[in-house]
């Protein structure tokens, strides 16, 4: 009985597919970061250590490619789901319940900065705040650009049929700096915004459980909470 009562207090945030897809992306990203930087900074203690742990450069290279395939497969399945959601389920890709960037995100950002400087109260976020949207698009777009430069580095002989060989050097430069940005943001900012934030410490579990308790939703996504209670009130008035 108690469990049922708890369940009723949860608001659904992620479907089973999305909760599952977070695992390959998370594990793949950690693996990609470890093996990739071990390959590039192979002269440092970090590269020597990781290289020794996995058994040499060839293992590092193959693990890096395997993690890349796994992570990209998760992103690709997500894209297939998007198409299915739009075409078969006739779902909405815009609006307050979606990941679509809106004018409200920019207003939220401005108000958030005012809030940091104690000039205003915290902004009331919809279902996905601008921080979460940035996290999402960083992976969605980043996996494609990393994928293209990574494929050029994986099959240089094939790609040099279409482009001069020194584009491989450019691909390496892009791959390296984008990796630095991605790791600096995902390994620090994402960890901060789902683990270290004082209201959420030690961990925000909604991507694993799929739900968020109502009182947390009231604080974290006030606009969505307001919208849901308004809808519930209208339904109550109608019946």
């Amino acid at each position: 009985m108690e469990k049922q009562a708890q369940r009723q207090d949860m608001v659904k945030r992620f479907s089973l597919l999305h909760r599952f897809l977070h695992w390959p992306v998370m594990l793949g990203f950690i693996g990609l970061g470890l093996t990739g930087f071990a390959l590039y900074f192979s002269g440092s203690w970090f590269g020597q250590g990781v290289g020794w742990l996995v058994g040499g450069a060839s293992h590092l290279a193959w693990l890096h490619r395997a993690f890349a395939v796994m992570t990209y497969a998760a992103v690709f399945i997500h894209l297939l789901w998007l198409a299915y959601y739009k075409l078969a389920l006739k779902g909405r890709l815009t609006g307050p319940d979606s990941m679509c960037p809106s004018g409200k995100d920019f207003k939220d950002l401005a108000q958030h900065i005012k809030y940091f400087l104690a000039r205003s109260g915290p902004p009331s976020f919809e279902r996905f705040s601008y921080v979460e949207k940035i996290d999402y698009y960083a992976v969605l777009i980043g996996m494609h650009t990393m994928g293209v430069t990574g494929l050029i580095l994986w099959f240089p002989e094939f790609f040099s049929q279409f482009m001069p060989g020194w584009f491989i050097n450019l691909a390496l430069v892009l791959h390296l700096y984008e990796a630095i940005i991605a790791v600096a943001l995902k390994f620090v900012i994402h960890i901060y915004s789902v683990h270290l934030r004082p209201p959420l410490w030690p961990v925000q579990t909604s991507i694993f459980t799929g739900g968020m308790p109502l009182d947390e939703l009231k604080h974290e996504h006030a606009a969505q909470y307001q919208r849901l209670t308004d809808e519930a009130g209208q339904e109550g008035a109608g019946s």
Binding site: L39, Y40, S42, G43, S44, W45, F46, G47, Q48, G49, V50, G51, W52, L53, G56, A57, S58, L60, A61, H112, I113, Y115, F116, L117, A118, P156, E157, F158, S160, Q161, M163, P164, G165, W166, I168, N169, L170, L172, V173, L174, L176, Y177, E178, I180, I181, A184, L185, V188, I189, Y192, S193, L196, R197, P198, P199
Partner: protein, 296 residues
């Protein structure tokens, strides 16, 4: 309080595991770096030969006379530096010179000497014999510049040999050594010990040392490992160091400029993005901590 021992045990076990992992990760780095001294060659010439080292070297069975005897070995005495008087107090302080007639190496290493004669180092040596050495340029190497005959180690593995090679070649070609170690080939072969990745001599030849500035020569070198390489593939820049003579290699200089410009742009983008997001998160943390403490 009864939970305290269990807590301490749990904490120690976690920290211990972490520390053990940290030590394990450092071990190969600690063990791997000390070995790379210049045993391959290029140590300053001296009359003093460490017999313990010499006895371990590949030439130990030759003894001194195998190479240095004046009689009946066909060496011109004039080519040798006169040996100092062992009874003189200045005996070991006199500078030794590299005056050995390296043609004599051909008695055993005929193929290597023949190949050396066809390479860039020998060509440069002939040029330098005609005109004086330009300032800032190294004198062209002969055998012992790269292979110290008194300490040369026999039966080295490919990676051990390759790591020594990077140091020996790099003692004159410093920029090429650095760029090689920043390239995938150097990272895999020299840093991580991957035997299939190319070492200096795999592209440039061991004794027949060649420059790969000509596209056809470069393509031929690429195709030894990458059979499907196209002429465009060989345009890849392996040593993105500024070429010594710009007119000599104009297309490469332009490519290096573009690559370096892109790296600078990407570095600026990375810095701005990271600082922006870190600042955002830091302010957010301060604000929320402040609220949490005030609410108490």
């Amino acid at each position: 309080m009864s939970k305290l021992p269990a807590l301490i045990y749990k904490y120690c076990r976690r920290t211990g595991l972490g520390l053990a992992l940290l030590v394990l990760m450092h071990l190969p780095a600690l063990a791997g770096t000390a070995e790379l001294d210049a045993r391959g060659g290029l140590a300053a010439s001296t009359w003093f030969i460490n017999q313990a080292e010499f006895q371990r070297s590949a030439h130990c069975f030759q003894g001194c006379n195998g190479c240095h005897a004046k009689e009946d070995k066909g060496i011109q005495p004039a080519a040798l530096t006169p040996h100092p008087d062992p009874r003189s107090p200045q005996y070991l302080k006199q500078a030794a010179r590299r005056a050995f007639d390296y043609e004599y190496c051909a008695k055993c290493h005929s193929l290597a000497v023949k190949r050396y004669g066809q390479g860039k180092h020998a060509e440069e040596r002939q040029k330098q014999a005609k005109e004086p050495l330009k300032p800032g340029k190294f004198s062209a190497p002969t055998c012992a510049h790269c292979h110290n005959p008194h300490t040369v180690i026999p039966h080295q593995g490919r990676i051990q040999l390759g790591r020594t090679q990077v140091e020996v070649c790099g003692s004159c070609h410093q920029a090429q050594k650095e760029t090689y170690l920043e390239n995938y080939h150097g990272q895999a072969a020299a840093n991580l010990g991957y035997g299939k990745a190319a070492l200096c001599s795999d592209c440039h030849g061991a004794h027949t040392v060649v420059s790969l500035k000509k596209p056809e020569a470069a393509l031929k070198a690429c195709r030894r490992c990458h059979p499907a390489a196209t002429p465009a593939f060989a345009q890849m820049v392996i040593h993105p160091s500024p070429p010594q003579d710009k007119d000599d290699n104009e297309p490469k200089a332009q490519r290096v400029a573009v690559i370096q410009a892109l790296a600078i742009i990407m570095a600026v983008i990375a810095l701005v993005t990271i600082l922006g997001f870190y600042g955002h998160s830091f302010l957010w943390m301060l604000r929320e901590l402040h609220e949490k403490i005030r609410r108490r």
